[in-house]
């Protein structure tokens, strides 16, 4: 289910800029160049994640390869006052919003934490693995923000498979009834692990919104400018009291579902090749070239930055100490039950033996 007919596009596959009567890009030349930098860096971080997993530094990694435009384009359209509720593959979104805080994500995949950041710091909900559940957190936050008269919107990121969960649909309805300032951003990467779109749904994702009473729009998720423009419009609408929008970004997971997955069991090389040809960074670079915004110098700087970030990621992960045993209990309650305290004292007695032995 590609529906290219219905998709908003600002860049042709060859990178040529297209006219669109509703959407346009308001980025400066520097902004356009910076978008390229972010795309390249995000891809490099992702590659690094795969490498670190292969070397046993991470327990698992969920690659976002191929989805960089959907993530960078949408995240760029949000302001610092806005909130993001990510799923578990939004490394690109995290990098754009919080820079090297993306290291927290690597710590999570290393098995050293369960997210471990303060959501209030970068207005960033914790990574959420139970599919669909966090869309409701986004709506709840948005309803509260609206009550407070805050000028912000809340973006909820989820995948095509997530649209099947009851929670996601309850979130659509709560947002619609409350005209909550939410941007539902669905990265339709064609697969939910091994389950293709055709077994997941019988209508394109964006149409789901109409049935709940708010607008849905389908965008070429590998066209970073279109994603940016469509997200910006939805975010502005939300901040202005226009209520929720559902954005379906048509993209493709070029990598495995996670490093434990073997996609060759369920998808064809042909399909993969078709989508490799559509990968977003090459197309954007072609646009920059056509627009005269590209230069060897830019490429050098961007690659240097990518190398720097990759090295930082690698060093940080390799030197990440294991969490202290006290992390087991210290954060469960603000005020832990006496039974947990005594259970912990007993556990420490047990651990003490080895200390003494050592």
């Amino acid at each position: 289910m590609d529906h290219s007919d219905e998709q908003v596009r600002l860049l042709a596959e060859d990178g040529a800029l297209l006219e669109h009567d509703t959407y346009e890009v308001d980025l400066s030349e520097d902004g356009l160049r910076d978008l390229y930098r972010q795309l390249v860096v995000v891809r490099r971080i992702d590659v690094e994640g795969n490498n670190l997993q292969r070397q046993g530094q991470l327990g698992i990694w969920a690659p976002c390869l191929g989805q960089e435009a959907a993530q960078v384009g949408s995240a760029r359209a949000l302001g610092p006052e806005d909130w993001v509720f990510p799923s578990y593959r939004e490394h690109g979104v995290i990098y754009v919003r919080a820079g090297m805080e993306v290291l927290r994500v690597l710590a999570l995949f290393r098995g050293a934490s369960l997210s471990g950041w303060d959501p209030q710091e970068h207005h960033l909900g914790l990574y959420s693995i139970p599919i669909g559940t966090h869309a409701l957190h986004a709506v709840g936050y948005a309803i509260g923000a609206k009550w407070d008269g805050a000028e912000l919107c809340v973006a909820a990121y989820f995948g095509d498979g997530a649209t099947s969960e009851g929670d996601t649909n309850e979130a659509f309805n709560f947002a619609a009834v409350n005209a909550a300032p939410v941007v539902f951003f669905c990265q339709n990467n064609q697969w939910a692990i091994s389950v293709p779109l055709s077994k997941q749904m019988a209508a394109p994702v964006y149409k789901r919104a109409f049935g709940f009473g708010f607008p849905g729009v389908q965008v070429d998720g590998n066209d970073v400018l279109a994603v940016y423009a469509v997200t910006k419009a939805a975010a502005d609408r939300a901040r202005d009291g226009g209520g929720p929008t559902l954005i379906e970004a048509i993209t493709y997971r070029l990598g495995a579902h996670t490093t434990t997955d073997d996609p060759t069991r369920y998808r064809t090389v042909d399909e993969l090749d078709t989508w490799k040809a559509r990968e977003p960074i090459g197309r954007y670079r072609a646009f920059l070239e056509k627009a005269g915004l590209f230069s060897e110098e830019l490429e050098r700087d961007v690659q240097a930055e990518a190398d720097r970030v990759a090295a930082e990621v690698r060093a940080a992960v390799e030197h990440l100490p294991d969490p202290p045993l006290s992390d087991l209990v210290d954060h469960v309650y603000a005020d832990p039950p006496a039974t947990l305290r005594s259970q912990w004292r007993r556990f420490e007695e047990f651990e003490a033996q080895f200390a003494s032995e050592a």
Partner: protein, 325 residues
Amino acid sequence: MAQITMAKALNTALRDAMEADDRVVLLGEDVGTLGGVFRITDGLQKDFGEHRVMDTPLAESGIMGVSIGLALRGYRPVPEMQFDGFSYPALDQVISHLAKYRNRSKGAQAMPVVCRIPYGGGIGAVEHHSESPETLYCHTAGLKVVTPSSAADAYSLLRQSIQDDDPVIFLEPKRRYWAKQEVDLPVATEPIGTAKVLRPGDDLTLVAYGPMVKVALDAADAAQEEGVGSLEVIDLRSLVPLDEETLVASASRTGRMVVVHEAPEFLGMGAEVAARVTEAAFFHLEAPVLRCTGLDIPYPPARLEEAHLPGVDRVLWTVQRTLDF
């Protein structure tokens, strides 16, 4: 002193909490215009407005998930599950997020959500309206589980729960909503985590909570009259944190204990109390800790609920079994 029902005490606690802190909001099915099917939120939407008391769409997982989002925004949401049997659709949000969010943020993010659930049977209701789901919540680390047995405790424990930075499952014994007590509100009773000896005794300790406290007290009176013995009655008040100290002290003194609850016996609270108390008071026990509970069956039709639920007779019978041990 005024005669006040538990329902009125809960309603007043919500009102006082909302006046004290304008981040306290109520949400749920029919909590607004109607004031809740049990009228616990009666009059609050009229006085605090549509967003402080929000009638939501009919979706419990949604209500819980939205409450979590509101907590992230800095609110102190008090969602209501209309009945025990309808709290199950929210279990994933409770187990996967509400109970874990603080821990997942390494303590940075508090989850001050109080989930109110009218629970228990004995009111002749149709199916799904008389369940006792406390085990599901008590086994879930990260939650506190509180249940009052009197109007005074209903007021004080609900106020404490709303002030608590940890998520609280607040179980309201619906069959006691209309029971009256002499009390002037506001009232402050013992903190969450302390059980209360409601009646001192020497021969055996009866442990109960919520709807079964009255049954335990009546059984203790009957035991006295009938010369069965002198029973001590402990009201747990909060199941998590569980006041092990008070339980162990009492069992060590009386040497005998019976735990009473409506929930099925198998992995009901009685199992945890028995295991803990036996470990801590082993050499003081003259008999095993016995359980007098609902049967291990789905909640039966109303015409059979009296037999399913522990009553004074079955409690006394179990007490006698313990004394005869």
